[in-house]
């Protein structure tokens, strides 16, 4: 049941940093994601297996090299802020380059 305050938000972002979603980006992603209460799923498009956006293991197994288009889905009271923050992180190449 989705309550009045529950939102759902989706953003698509392309991974542009050289080594893709490796160790440090994964941990930065999890750091940011953990600040929000929303449930976060990350996948590579409709029909692909989603990964829990707050799980370092799941994100590592996702295998997202440079060029991958990730879909971020958040469900919760702060869903919109969540996907915005995560999208921004990816767009700034995780502050790496």
């Amino acid at each position: 049941m989705v309550s009045q305050d529950e939102q759902t938000a989706i953003r698509e972002v392309t991974i542009t940093n050289a080594h893709g979603l490796h160790l440090r980006p994964v941990m930065k992603f999890v750091d940011v994601a953990s600040r929000y209460v929303a449930d976060i799923r990350v996948d590579k498009g409709a029909g692909t297996t989603p990964a829990d956006g707050k799980s370092p293991m799941a994100l590592m197994v996702l295998e997202a090299p440079k060029g991958t288009v990730l879909r971020i889905l958040a469900t919760g009271t702060d869903a919109v802020q969540t996907v915005e923050a995560l999208a921004a992180l990816i767009q700034t190449k995780f502050d790496e380059e």
Partner: protein, 581 residues
């Protein structure tokens, strides 16, 4: 139930619970717990998670201080994984719903994650396997706390599963209750494989990622005869194997009764069966299996205890021990066949690009005359304790053989001057294991006291295949027509020149090739001692004329597959119903 395939190193069936060995040599004691224990296991898990995270934070600080923050990144990931709620939930679920112990549940979940990484193409990602293994080890270590056990203290029979075993770990197995062995890696003629074969317990290696599929406590069947490993077998499969185990046991008893019978063919030709040994103690074991003596004593195993070059006294004691164990039967000692392995590679600044074709074996000895003479002295001194033959490995030229003999004569002169006795008429021979030597067989036959055909190396050189490389070792086969032809020529030349010729490669102990070798004129075989009864059985059932017919026919085929199929049929006809074939 999972069934995985590997390469058999020792036949037979073993059924027991698994112990998965890793670098820390611990094992998981229980797979299941009483339902009443579940809360305790959950608590153990939570405590272990906290302790692991604390430990990692400390290590991270240390690493960051010494190497900078980048190096410490990986620790963040480890901590992140330990905090991952989904992982914690899946472990807890196994404890709550399936009554698994905390240690087993951790291991199970971590290994399934390891497997997912193994399927990835990105090498950076697949390195994470090591991380996950590390996390697993750390967590299980904290769960088990003081109750870690090692192999020596096993109270029940177990199947040992590991990524790999070093030769010294393998050597220690004989004192344990590991009744079967399964390894991820390994070509079938590496040192570890040779030792596993001597150990005699059903062993299957080269099973790729089996150590991630098995968790401590799983029931495992090692089917050494069919090269299979079965994890958590279902009832029907378990029943079937229990029955098979009984059959095999009966066969082994039958073969033992052959021990005191002579290996004579039905038409009265005496064949000589010897044992290949790596340790002095095995000389006695060879006799126990009914061998006529030791056909090959691989002395390089003296280096495997890892303390560098063995001194003269240590070697002398080992050789005397072998002679004593052989109780007056002949012992052929081969000088160090080192090389393409740790000992010689570590001695140089630059590793050789191609150690197999490099400074190894007799070449190494001739370049390190101190070491060589020490060994020769030890062998000569031991020669007064029993009938010894001396053999040089990897000979490619007459010059080389003569050089080695000259060094031997130097050593003899020294001993004479020192007044130390030795057998002056000691027979000196060579390993026939290089194509060059095979092509010049006639010249060598006139030079040496005896020859032993080393098919393990010879086949590698002739077929240009690395027997230890899992990707190509299916091309390595004694049944290749080129190999058969070569053997025919070598054996025939030796027989014509009146030179004693034996065969000491693994092929000698493989029943599939016994008829062929007899038919080609071979009268002397040296093999892993436990194979002697089987070969003896075949020898006693055969006639030389039959063997010669088989050999003649085998030589007409063009491909190895034809040769092997033909030999298999011919052998089966002689021993119908035997589970080995």
């Amino acid at each position: 139930m999972e069934i995985v395939q590997g390469i058999t190193v020792a036949p037979g069936v073993a059924i027991a619970h698994a112990v998965v060995l890793d670098a820390e040599e611990y094992r998981i004691p229980y797979r299941q717990v009483d339902p009443a224990e579940r809360e305790r296991e959950l608590q153990l898990l939570h405590n272990a998670l906290e302790a692991s995270i604390t430990e990692l934070k400390e290590q991270k600080e240390t690493v960051a201080a010494q190497l900078g923050h980048d190096a410490a990144d990986v620790f963040n990931w480890h901590i992140g994984v330990l905090r991952d709620p989904a992982i914690r939930r899946s472990i807890e679920q196994l404890i709550r719903e399936r009554h698994h112990s905390a240690a087993y549940a951790v291991s199970f979940v971590m290994r399934s994650h390891q497997r997912r990484f193994m399927q990835m193409s990105d090498p950076l990602l697949s390195e994470r396997i090591r991380d996950v293994r590390d996390i697993e080890r750390r967590l299980v270590r904290h769960v088990l706390g003081e109750s870690r056990e090692d192999l020596a203290h096993l109270t029940k029979e177990v199947i040992l599963v590991a990524h790999d075993l070093s030769p010294s770990q393998t050597a220690r197995l004989s004192g344990t209750r590991a009744v079967g062995i399964v390894l991820d890696v390994g070509g079938s003629t590496s040192h570890t494989a040779i030792l596993l074969r001597s150990l005699g317990r059903p062993s299957v290696i080269g099973v790729k990622d089996v150590s991630t599929r098995v968790s401590g406590g799983d029931l495992v069947i090692v089917d050494g005869t069919n090269q299979l490993v079965i994890i958590n077998p279902d009832e029907p499969t378990l029943e079937q194997y229990r029955a098979q185990k009984l059959d095999y046991g009966r066969l082994m008893v039958e073969l033992e009764s052959l021990r005191d019978l002579e290996p004579v063919t039905r038409d009265g030709v005496r064949i000589y069966l010897y044992g290949n040994i790596e340790f002095p103690g095995e000389a006695k074991a060879s006799l126990m299996y009914g061998a006529d003596g030791v056909g090959l004593y691989r002395t390089e195993f003296l280096f495997l205890r890892g303390e560098g070059e063995p001194g003269e006294e240590e070697q002398y004691r080992a050789y005397v021990s072998a002679l004593t164990g052989a109780q007056g039967k002949p012992v052929t000692i081969r000088t160090f066949d080192l090389g393409a392995d740790k000992y010689t590679q570590e001695k140089h600044y630059e590793q050789e690009r191609n150690p197999m074709l490099g400074l190894r074996s007799i070449r190494y000895s001739l370049q390190h005359l101190d070491m060589f003479k020490t060994q020769l002295r030890a062998i000569l001194r031991a020669s007064v304790h029993g009938p010894v033959r001396l053999m040089f490995p990897l000979i490619i030229s007459l010059m080389e053989f003569r050089q080695a003999k000259m060094t031997l004569h130097d050593a003899m002169e020294d001993l004479q001057d020192e007044g130390i006795p030795f057998a002056k008429d000691i027979a000196v021979g060579m390993m026939m294991e290089t194509p060059a030597a095979a092509i010049q067989c006639r010249e060598f036959a006139r030079e040496v006291g005896f020859m032993s055909i080393g098919t393990n190396d010879m086949i590698q050189y002739v077929l240009a295949v690395d027997r230890g490389n899992e990707r190509v070792n299916r091309f390595y086969t004694p049944g290749h027509p080129a190999v058969v032809r070569l053997l025919r020529d070598v054996i025939r030349t030796c027989n014509r020149e009146g030179v004693d010729c034996s065969l000491c490669g693994e092929m000698a102990g493989e029943p599939l090739y016994t008829l062929l070798l007899l038919g080609l004129g071979l009268r002397s075989f040296s093999m892993a001692p436990r194979n002697v009864p089987e070969i003896k059985k075949l020898v006693r059932l055969a006639t030389i004329s039959q063997a010669e017919r088989v050999a003649r026919k085998a030589m007409t085929f063009e491909t190895e597959r034809q040769v092997i199929n033909f030999l298999r049929d011919a052998t089966k006809k002689m021993v119908p119903g035997d589970p080995i074939y």
